[in-house]
Amino acid sequence: MDIRTAQALVRFGLGRRGAEPLPSDPAAWLLNQLHQPDPTRFDDQPTTAKGLTALRDDRANKPPPGESQVAALFKAQATAQLGNAVTTPAPFRERLVWFWTNHFVISRRQGGCAAVAAAFVEEAIRPHVTGRFQDMVLAVMRHPAMLLYLDNAQSFGPDSPLGQRSHRGLNENLARECMELHTVSPLAGYSQADVTSFAKILTGWSVDLKADPPGFVYRPTAHEPGVQTVLQQQFPADEAGGVAALRFLANHPATHRFLATKLVRHFVADDPPPDAVRAIEWVLRDSEGNLGAASAALVRLDAAWQPLKKLRTPQDLVVASVRSLDLPPDVVPILGILGGLGQPLWTAPAPNGWPDRAADWAAPEAMLRRIDWASGFAGRIGDRDVLEVADNTLGPLLRPETQEAVRRAGSRREAMTLLLTSPEFQRR
């Protein structure tokens, strides 16, 4: 394995799976994943209708915790999602799905989100990771998972018929986070008035649990009447005004700068090199927010082929570990492990998602938990040759001192523990 191949597999992928065939041209292998359709298929495809129906039934039947439909659905879907990460032949695409899912994070910490978390990924994120950013924004903002997570389902125009009748008003949570975390970011210099106006624009974007099938609904009777101004742009009332405002925010130059910074931080380095950020920013601007083009530009960055500096998150680490031993996806309870390592799936603590800097993951106890987990997981090495596993998974990234420690270890399990806890395996 040459160094570029090793970097491509780790920096842009999820780690090599066993001794899977190596690409002859690593950059072309990555770009090809962007050009080919997403190969992901689920036996039981998650849908919003299925999730919300389960949520509605649970709320009506109030089952004991062990019999909750939503809990069962969440577990099955999350497990399937992680299993897909273990087996996917298009790991760069999967990494992009993870990246954008974390950019537009939803969390089961908010009641109801668990029911539609997988549907959110499959309906709002995955179809758009190589498409246009504005389409992803629109899909996200209309998705019940996001509308429930950031309370917009309960936001009423104060002057709308429903607002007047019920004396309920604005909840600007989604509007603020959409501007601050999803699109223009504080770089755009918006004011509280802009946030309030945008919140009014989004009133009426809600979730209908009673409909058949339940799902997104635009409620004109909850929508604030009148023209609104956001960042000096005027938007008409009604749903079309919201769509126009989202397109405006999605294509704003500040959005391109913000997304470029996050993409480069994620795939290159915690401190993104300014020229690399600029390169991605220009691609986003010139392509009108084409995420496939931006992803391809990441692969072409010189900085993307420098030594790996990022620290794998727990999710990266566990999936890469399972792939390194070429284990079937169903033998390792990844979902539970992620909780123990501090990154439970789709359960981020706040709307800014999981952090993307090493310092946030390298807390002392967190690192020790990685070691403890690795020492248990390493028991799955069975009768395999750890040096061979090390060579397969890391190739030229393996340091001589780690190789020597693996060679000298007292058991295969200890040797595998040393490989999984080596600094080079922690990197991506």
């Binding site: 090493a358 390298a362 690192m367 069975g382 009768d383 270890a409 058991s411 806890t421």
Partner: protein
């Protein structure tokens, strides 16, 4: 010098501690319990059971030999020639109670010094790697229909099933919830491998410190913090499961940390104590079922007779094995002692093996589980020339 078998017997009466209740409980063959403990990483047999009576010992490894019996922190005597390491006080007490014995200068039927290959052979029960372990084949050889246990007669304790218990016969697996913790010396190696990394290095060092793994703990100078995956905890749990009337009858446990290439005097006592505590905990957990129990403690090979350049020992050949349990005719060190003069060492390097580990295991299986010659041949293929060792189990 050559001390023949049984000459190292303790001067204790062999029947004194055997009560009638124990005999009554041992009636049905299916009530027998068999436990195998794998010491991964190669126990230095001459450090666990020290041949302090051998005149060649001091020249080979004087700096790492504990004081003679009777001196402060000295060896625990085993009949005037051998002494048990002071960290094995519990096991020494079992020898004194005639329910444990040591087999010295023992080795498997292979002569490799790779941990991984040797562990494979140790668990396969052959001089090559097989797809099943010998203990699994023991399960298959047990009379069928005696148990309604859907999960099988055998139990692997820990997060994985060792090769020893893998194979066609069904095996249950048990481990506590949550993450295990590696042994302090593995933590130390991990910390060393990460020490120059600007991110992981300081975090791991601080994490270990915060958890109470001082430099002294990692060097083996003081006890490690409590760990629910620690060997004594697992051994206690295994004992309790084996004790249950409808529980498993055969169990495998393992404990690592024996690969003492450096600073053996500091690193070995901690892991010996873990083993000792674990064997006592196993007995406690088994309760009355201890009387029907035989335990084999084995390691993949021994270590060099001479101390190396870093106050440790390197991979060797002959070592010690322990047989213990209420069903064991203990109270002795069983050895055809090869001597420690240069020409008596194996390849002028290791304790020469004079007893085949398969003879020990076959002796236990024949007398304790009543396996016949044909079954023993299936358990240890190619061992027809190795006769089962007699006298290990009370009759």
């Amino acid at each position: 010098m050559n001390i023949s078998r049984r000459t190292a017997l303790l001067g204790l009466a062999t029947s004194a501690t055997l009560g009638g209740a124990n005999l009554a409980l041992a009636a049905a063959p299916t009530d027998k319990r068999l436990v195998v403990v794998i010491l991964r990483g190669a126990l230095d047999g001459m450090a666990a059971v020290v041949p302090y009576g051998d005149p060649g010992l001091a020249a080979l490894r004087g700096p790492i030999v504990p004081p003679a019996p009777g001196q402060p922190e000295g060896l625990l005597d085993l009949g005037g020639f051998f002494g048990m390491h002071p960290s094995l006080a519990g096991l020494h007490g079992m020898v004194a109670a005639h329910e444990a014995l040591a087999v010295h200068a023992v080795a498997g039927c292979y002569r490799v010094r790779s941990h991984f290959e040797a562990q494979d052979y140790l668990e396969s029960g052959a001089d090559h790697r097989m797809t099943s372990g010998w203990l699994n084949r023991v399960v298959a050889a047990l009379p069928a229909g005696g148990s309604a246990r859907p999960e099988g007669e055998a139990l692997a304790v820990g997060v994985s099933v060792p090769l020893l218990l893998r194979g066609p016969a069904q095996v249950a697996n048990w481990a506590p919830h949550g993450f295990s913790q590696p042994a302090p010396d593995l933590y130390a190696t991990i910390a060393a491998l990460n020490q120059h990394d600007p991110v992981t290095g300081p975090a791991i060092a601080e994490g270990l410190r915060a958890r109470g793994f001082s430099a002294a703990v990692m060097a083996g100078d003081s006890d490690a913090p409590k760990d629910k995956y620690a060997f004594p905890t697992l051994a206690r749990a295994a004992g309790e499961m084996l004790r249950a009337p409808d529980g498993p009858r055969i169990a495998a446990l393992e404990i690592g940390g024996w690969d003492t290439h450096t600073a053996q005097v500091r690193r070995l006592p901690g892991v010996l104590k873990q083993l000792d505590d674990g064997l006592v905990a196993l007995k406690t957990g088994l309760g009355p079922a201890w009387a029907q129990t035989a335990v084999l403690v084995m390691t993949e090979f021994g270590r060099t007779a001479r101390v190396n350049g870093t106050q440790g020992t390197d991979h060797g050949t002959g070592t010690v094995a322990f047989v213990l349990g209420g069903a064991v005719a203990g109270g002795k060190v069983w050895a055809t002692w090869p001597g420690l003069a240069a020409e008596q060492l194996f390849e002028n390097r290791d304790l020469a093996p004079t007893t085949d580990l398969r003879a020990v295991a076959k002796g236990m299986l024949a007398a304790h589980l009543k396996l016949d010659a044909a079954a023993l041949g299936r358990v240890f293929p190619g061992s027809d020339g190795v006769a089962p060792m007699g006298g290990l189990i009370r009759v």
